[in-house]
């Protein structure tokens, strides 16, 4: 049940908290400075990740408690070095479905570069429409298609260093954030107001209470996920100690939810799709 509790932690402590700030800014984007819009977009990136991966963790954890082993749906997507890698790590079940039931039947990458690009576009636009019948999702899908097409055409230089990796991760994260602007905005005109407002001067609107709580939640979430991604380093033998550890971890997560969670949070974002 630890995974389900961690999912609840991500939803209640991280996603619902960041939503307070994101909603305040995105409800009236033309009234905010560029730095505020940027901060809100970063916050939304973590909000939607915590919301949706938390939702998935709750489902996977509950299924596991009942004896069903479901595949993970997220694999630290913001550590991706390219958009292609991002889509292998984000909403994995949907990515595989789009690949198997849209991209491959359309011909996949078997009929030349032009058709591959067309197939990517069609697949991702339909993937965008899967989220809702709105132009923002169409643009979001088209943007993903374009980025995947570029990623397909342009080959990354064979340089591999920590600095290069960090650079790739940073660029990929910002490209993903560009898409999130369209995903989060209420309509296309709001999305354009966010993008055009990124250069606007002005004081940064900081709700210290929300930002501090959200940051603590994000840090804990990333630390736990980093630990989970290196199982060899934290592996314990299946003896009594494991259950004691599980109890302590569960108690810590419940304590985190009690202390840092938002009392009246919203429903899971993906419940509407």
């Amino acid at each position: 049940m630890g995974l389900a509790l961690f999912g609840i932690f991500k939803k209640v402590v991280v996603a619902d908290r960041l939503a307070l700030y994101v909603d305040a800014v995105y409800s009236n984007p033309s009234a905010h400075s560029g730095s505020t819009l940027l901060l809100a977009t970063y916050a939304f990136a973590f909000q939607i990740y915590a919301d949706f991966s938390g939702y998935s963790d709750v489902a996977i954890g509950c299924a596991r408690a009942l004896g069903f082993d479901l595949r993970p749906n997220f694999d630290r997507p913001y550590a991706s070095r390219s958009i292609r890698e991002f889509w292998r790590r984000w909403h994995i079940s949907l990515s595989f479905w789009l690949r198997d039931y849209l991209y491959v039947p359309l011909g996949g990458s078997q009929h030349g570069r032009a058709k591959t690009i067309r197939n990517l576009f069609v697949t991702m636009i339909l993937g965008g429409l899967w989220h809702g019948a709105a132009w923002t999702f169409v643009v979001w899908g088209a943007l993903q298609g374009a980025l995947l097409a570029v990623s397909h055409v342009v080959r990354r230089p064979e340089v591999d260093s920590p600095l290069r990796r960090a650079f790739d991760v940073l660029v990929t994260f910002h490209l993903v954030c560009l898409g999130w602007v369209f995903f989060r905005a209420a309509n296309l005109s709001d999305a354009m107001a966010v993008l055009s407002g990124l250069t606007r001067d002005g004081a940064t609107f900081v709700d210290a209470h929300t930002i501090a709580h959200g940051t603590v939640g994000v840090v804990v979430m990333l630390l736990v996920e980093s630990a989970r991604s290196f199982p060899d380093r934290v592996r314990f033998t299946p003896n009594e100690f494991v259950s004691i550890r599980a109890v302590i971890v569960s108690a810590a997560l419940l304590l985190g939810v009690a202390l840092l969670g938002v009392e009246e949070g919203s429903q899971f974002i993906y419940l509407q799709f």
């Binding site: 209470h209 501090a212 709580h213 603590v216 259950s243 004691i244 109890v247 302590i248 569960s250 108690a251 810590a252 419940l254 304590l255 009690a258 202390l259 840092l260 969670g261 938002v262 009392e263 009246e264």
Partner: protein, 325 residues
């Protein structure tokens, strides 16, 4: 068919889990309560509530929202009344909070003889019970607070059994404030707003209340007066001004509230047309420091000639006070 050993093992693990959870929760709650002692700042941490209940010597308590905290200067009242005064207003709160803080103060041995309360028509649209979470650290002390907290959701009484939950969203700011030390000067709870060259173009809330919210708001006002009088405390309500004057709908609500509290034996000071300098508003409902000083003087002076301040404590359960109505 039944694996008794596995069942016993599972049961012992479940009991162990509950014991650990209980211990962690109580330990965390105790630690936070310890930290909270002496932190008299912060609207969301209960710091302002502690500032009131830890100063039981005040003879007059000023209760309400930001229109009390930012407008009414206890020193003006002390000069006029010759008694110690404390401002217990809190930004964003309403009549539900005022009622709960008064009840907590009485339970903690407050020597207050008079409550001066902001009469706010918005309380009939939203009494702001949903913001009562700030009172969670005081759960279990007085029925008024417990009922208010429990009314927020059907799960609230269960959540509130967790001592850690009582500090939900308050733990971080509490720890930060405790680490920073008590830097905020305790000016008897009064915190005026800075002057603005141009008032903010933000109008007050323009909402319509429903019948249920009107009933709830009225019930809080009546209960505040009843509970105060039962504890030997007189209550005076003040109708303050707003920029541009109250709307017709708000005036109706004011009349409704005034009638209700007078029925309960409280008095009402009407300063809705106080004629304050229009440049003193920082937004639709808040005055700057100079405007607040002027309003404080007017309210304090209104209390004296009308003999609204009781000379002695009213015996518990007695009838009418000196309220002029």
């Amino acid at each position: 068919l039944i694996d008794v050993e596995a069942g016993a093992n599972l049961m012992s693990r479940i009991i162990f889990s509950f014991v650990v959870l209980f211990a962690v929760d109580r330990g965390c709650g105790l630690a936070l309560e310890h930290v909270a002692r002496g932190v008299y700042d912060g609207e969301r941490t209960g710091g302002l509530v502690r500032a009131v209940i830890d100063h039981p010597e005040a003879r007059v308590l000023l209760l309400g929202s930001s229109r009390v905290r930012r407008h009414l200067d206890p020193r003006r009242f002390e000069s006029a009344l010759g008694r110690s005064v404390r401002n217990a207003g809190c930004d964003g709160q309403g009549i539900a909070y005022a009622r709960a803080v008064a009840a907590l103060a009485r339970a903690r041995g407050s020597r207050a003889e008079l409550y001066v309360v902001d009469l706010n028509p918005f309380d009939l649209i939203d009494a702001r019970e949903s913001r009562a979470g700030v009172l969670s650290p005081f759960y279990g002390e007085v029925p008024v607070v417990d009922e208010l907290l429990a009314s927020r959701s059907e799960w609230a009484p269960i959540y509130l059994e967790s001592h850690a939950y009582r500090f939900n969203s308050a733990a971080l700011p509490l720890v930060f404030r405790a680490m920073r030390g008590q830097a905020v000067e305790d000016d008897r709870g009064f915190s005026p707003l800075a002057r603005r060259e141009r008032p903010r173009d933000v109008d007050g809330p323009d909402l319509e209340g429903d019948e249920a919210s009107t009933r709830r708001g009225l019930a809080h006002y009546r209960a505040l007066v009843r509970e105060a009088r039962a504890g030997g405390v007189s209550v005076v309500f003040v109708v303050g001004p707003v920029r541009g004057g109250w709307s017709a709908a708000d005036l109706d609500r004011i009349e409704l509230l005034a009638r209700a509290v007078r029925d309960e034996g409280a008095s009402v000071i009407d300063l809705r047309d106080a004629g304050l300098d229009s440049s003193r508003w920082v937004d639709a409902i808040h005055l700057d420091a100079e405007g607040a000083d002027e309003l404080s003087r007017r309210v304090a002076e209104s209390l004296v000639p009308e003999s609204l301040v009781p000379e002695t404590r009213v015996p518990e359960g007695s009838g009418d006070t000196q309220g002029s109505g």
